[in-house]
């Protein structure tokens, strides 16, 4: 197990290093100059030179790359060109919105999706099943921001129960922050729940048609017991794969929903970094996304092992 973890860790580090090099090179090639971006249409050559000097842009690319990479190891991601505060601080502020939002949305999606999927499978080809599948079809086909707009219309503009957007920050009390995240999390979770419901249903149907289910039934187990103890655990592998993909998507920024609710999440920070040609910020953000996806994939692998003991022993 230790050797497995060490190998896994090493390959993750190598992937990250390669990603870092690619990110650096690609962003260096992007046309644009942060100094010009700051000065706008009033930029004079003299001003641009002064700002480039201050940002350290006059140094060769390789030197800057070394600074950046060595800084990563000690958690120093540099100072943002456009915000003039440490990149690590900027990212941490946004993570405090994006991570709770992603967790909340994923929790809702799992709760709704798996429950509906199991019910649909248990009553396959009934009216309930048809209803759930029709709803999930709607959920899959509708983009999350459309749900966002509809939810704002209903809960903010008509009923006035929840704020239409913005994020007061955790410092203003967890309750207010949670209220601000409610509608966005719900609108993000709906399409995800719909997908999970469909996948759960088909995986459950497959599991329910297996021989061991017949055996279980012959043993005299009730319908509920069969579903809980035998069918559901065996149906979970594809569901976990999907949850992993969904969570990567939620963490790497859900730009449109953030825009609809004007939430200060990672997605909007990316947009702002692009708009201000804040390359140093952008580099760390992209690397963070790569890292997040790698880590989530690793977690998904571990989760496979938990739900399916056969996968624990498989060589990798």
């Amino acid at each position: 197990m230790l050797r497995f973890l060490a190998r896994r860790g090493l390959s993750m580090a190598a992937t990250l290093l390669v990603a870092a090099i690619v990110i650096f090179v690609v962003l260096e090639i992007l046309p644009g100059d942060p100094a010009v971006a700051m000065l706008g249409v009033s930029a004079t050559a003299e001003n641009v030179a002064a700002i480039r000097l201050e940002l350290g842009l006059d140094k060769p690319a390789f030197t800057r790359f070394l600074y950046w990479i060595s800084g990563l190891f000690v958690g120093d991601l540099g100072i943002s060109y456009s915000y003039r505060v440490p990149v690590a601080q900027l990212i941490a502020e946004r993570l405090a919105v994006t991570v709770p939002l992603a967790l909340l949305a994923q929790m809702l999606a799992v709760l709704m999706g798996i429950t509906l999927g199991v019910f649909a499978a248990a009553r396959a080809h009934s009216r309930l099943d048809a209803g759930i599948m029709a709803l999930s079809q709607l959920g899959v086909a509708t983009p999350n921001f459309v749900f966002g707009i509809l939810l704002i219309l209903a809960f903010s503009l008509t009923l006035g129960w929840l704020p239409a957007g913005g994020f007061p920050g955790w410092g203003e009390g967890g309750w207010r922050a949670l209220r601000a995240l409610a509608l966005p999390a719900f609108s993000l979770s709906l399409p995800q729940a719909a997908i999970l419901a469909r996948i759960t249903r088909s995986a459950m149907l497959e599991a329910l048609s297996e021989d061991f289910i017949r055996t279980a039934r012959a043993k005299g187990l009730t319908r509920g017991q069969i579903i809980r103890r035998h069918a559901l655990p065996n149906a979970l592998v594809p569901v976990i794969t999907m949850i992993g993909l969904q969570f990567s998507f939620l963490v790497t920024g859900t730009i449109i929903v953030e825009n609809v609710f004007s939430l200060p999440g990672l997605g909007r920070l990316v947009i702002q970094a692009i708009g201000g040609h804040d390359v140093i910020l952008l580099k760390s953000l992209v690397l963070l996304f790569v890292g997040a996806v790698i880590v989530i994939n690793a977690l998904v692998d571990i989760a496979y092992g938990i739900v399916d003991p056969r996968l624990r022993k498989m060589p990798r």
């Binding site: 046309p31 644009g32 100059d33 010009v36 971006a37 930029a43 001003n47 939430l263 708009g275």
Partner: protein, 513 residues
Amino acid sequence: MMKIGPETPVPASSGRLRRHARLGTACSTILAAFLCSNGLATAQNRDSVTVCQTLEPTILDPTASAAAAIREVTYANIFEGLVGFDRNSKLVPRLAESWQASPDGMKYTFKLRAGAAFHDGTPVTSADVKFSFDRAGAPDSKNPQKWIFEPIGAVAAPAPDTVEITLKTYAADFLEGLAWGDAIILSEKSVAKAATEPVGTGPYRFVRWNRGDRLVLERNDAWWGGKASIKSATFRFIADPQAQVSAMLSGDCDAFTNIGAPEAVDQLKKDGRLVVTIGSTEGETILAMNNAKAPLSDIRVRKAIAMAVDRKLVNEGAISGFGTPIGSHFSPNHPAYIDLTGEVKFDTKAAKALLAEAGLANGFKVSLRLPPPAYARRGGEIIAAMLAEIGITAEIEPVEWPQWLERVFRNKDFDLTVISHVEPMDLNIYARDGYYFGYSSPELKAAVAATKTARSEAERKAAFEAAQRQIARDQVNAFLFMLPKITVAKKGLTGMWPSWPMPANPLAELKWE
């Protein structure tokens, strides 16, 4: 921490049912607490105001970046200059109580206001003024408007409340320049933090900034001008136009400085709780042309393009018709403005004839690079369709800001672009060599120089008029309209600036009635 309502008694029944019932009650309690603590009909809090705007600044120091968003937040709120502009672009005293110019206009003596102090408590003295202006005018200064400080020969501080500025070159607009946000007074002690935790002298002090969402200010009770009416002020930044409308309709915002959804104005006007005011910014919106590149270097071609563009329709399509049409690069709010909108009339036939005269009867291809704002993207598409009418194929390419600045503004790699020049009094860009639209005219340069050397208001006005005419005559760009300022405020909140002679939202002028 999260609060959940008190445990509700659950009727005794079978275990399964009880479990379900308990779950149901818990859910409805959570839901009720969650939804209702907002309080739908809360009375307006008169001690605070939430002013919302589209763009968020990335830093707060106007002496380090030209971004209008910085000025929208800080001007006359956190920072002040010796003098300032009021809502009618009239020069008003701020940190200087009074001033005197020598008869030859080469020396200014400012008397500083007694009682003016920075937010950290240190009084504002002539040494701070000297520090600020020396810093802004230094060779390594990053001040975006260095022209303001170029005429300065020396700044002297003969007494703590007296500043003497000797000019090395006469400048008719010197005092006006000092009213810009770029000429604020900073303290040497706190200048390093001006970008992130600013310490100014204005009626509001900086409290905190949740980047990406809001910036909170608090009334500075020690302000020289007395106490402002509202104690706590929050700027919120909402980029998405639809989200802006929702934020106004839901009551999350008390005012929107310039709403980005002109198409929603009717809807907002219908809402009895809101007041919509249409004013103007100083943003001359133009179809900029690369004067240095054939065939646009030919004035007949530029004129043909200008004639092919139906300004009214572009105005209608790009910003719902709220723009004020212009015929040159000058703001109708300025006293020296002359109406040149009649110089070029929309006339497709005449435009075609002009093209034929220039030897381009079969038309040609141009690039049309469009930056992100809606006025540019929408306006650009309409313009491309109009140019097609006279045989010009405009290849639209949407670009992000950094790419626009790099390719169009810096490398001049473009034929046409749509852009709003939002800085006030920026006629002088036409006199700059190497500016992106590649125009160079000795006559215009002379006229712009004359606006600086003018010894009287009349002389200055005449110079401005000559410059406006010259730019229109040479048809440097196609002039479209002034970008509107669409202010939305809750009924009962007064004091928002209806127009923007400068991008600014002075909070001390706001009041709940």
